[in-house]
């Protein structure tokens, strides 16, 4: 009797840590029911350095429905991508207790 899982979207956002509070508000506004955050460092188009002095990056994962994922990405594209060091990607994963995320 296999355990029941359902597919949801996992959105991962990497951003300079100064944006943490603002991003978490946007997550909530977009309808996310939870998130997991780890401290990170990184490099990208903007170089390795800009984030160091200002406290590194945060890596935020959130399990959400397709619609919420879509809303979230739109919000990121509009409010952050032009000026801030923010990267985001999406995957489909199987979760247990899927009703908690949608």
């Amino acid at each position: 009797m296999a355990i029941h899982t359902v597919p949801v979207q996992r959105v991962t956002i990497v951003a300079e840590s100064l944006l943490e509070e603002r991003l978490l508000k946007d997550l909530e506004a977009a309808g996310a029911r939870g998130y997991t955050l780890t401290a990170a460092r990184g490099a990208g188009a903007r170089g390795v350095r800009s984030s160091e002095w200002e406290g590194g990056n945060v890596r935020i994962e959130t399990l959400v429905s397709d619609a919420v994922a879509q809303r979230l990405l739109e919000r990121l594209a509009e409010a952050y991508f032009p000026h801030y060091a923010v990267v985001a990607w999406v995957e489909t994963v199987e979760v247990v207790r899927g009703d908690r995320y949608v």
Binding site: E16, L18, R49, E52, W53, E54, H83
Partner: protein, 326 residues
Amino acid sequence: MEFGAALAANLTSPPVLAFALGFLATALGAELKLHEALYDALSVYLLLAIGLKGGVAISVAEPGALLWPALAALAMGTGIPLWCYAVLRRLLRLGAADAGALAAHYGSVSAVTFVAALQFLAARGVPAEGFLPALVALLEVPAIVVAIALARAGGAAGGGGGLREALHEVVFGRSVVLLVGGLAIGVLTGERGFAAVKPLFSDLFLGALVLFLLELGVVASRRRGDLRRAGAPLVAFAVIAPIVHAALAALLGPLVGLSPGGTMVFATLAASASYIAAPAAVRLALPEASPSLYLASSLVVTFPFNLALGLPLYDAFARLAHRLLG
């Protein structure tokens, strides 16, 4: 003569040498960066200790002595960003966001430079008003607000968060809260209460500063590559602006009743550029501004300049101003 001796003594003081060690070792490829938790702990400690000692001093000072110096500080805190912004836009042809960002940094202050000034005086036995830490708190915020508003008026796009978020970021930021909170605790607990915590918050202070400057040397060194992006005119600005600001503040000092020591510290505050509170606020409110420019100027040029050469120079300014106006 006296300036030469003060310069030599300053250049061989442990804090300056620690900064140099961090800078050089990093330039040679060594990995000296402190754990972020230690950096964090040191900054909490230094800010709280500055506040505490200032508060205790205020608790025994005559009330009212703070009034004129406070007004002078507010005048500098709003004046500096205004002229800096104009100069940076006109003479250096920077965009609104970059000019505003730099104006915010040079109008605000560096608590570590302040501490270095106190130690400079202490090592020479020169007294200074105990309430000076209150000026640090007063000087930290206004310039940032003024400069961001200027840049916005000049056409810089907001970061979505707006001026209000940036204001919250500085007013409720760690440095202001710890400084002001420390001041309040110091005032309330007084000399008696402070005696029991003195071994931590007073005796260890200079040692902690040495560790902190080691770290700042490392960070400045890692950013030294940004100097090229900043360009010669901005580097010149980062040396000249502090000297001009210190000279103005040194003239104000005797007029508002500051002692020679207090005047020297006030001049150093005016000369110093923020590299903690201002960068965070500016990043949120003026995201178009390039961090390379404002961090290279304030941290790689102005900070070490003030630390190594500025302190004896501003001390000479203060003594001269007191001879002229005192």
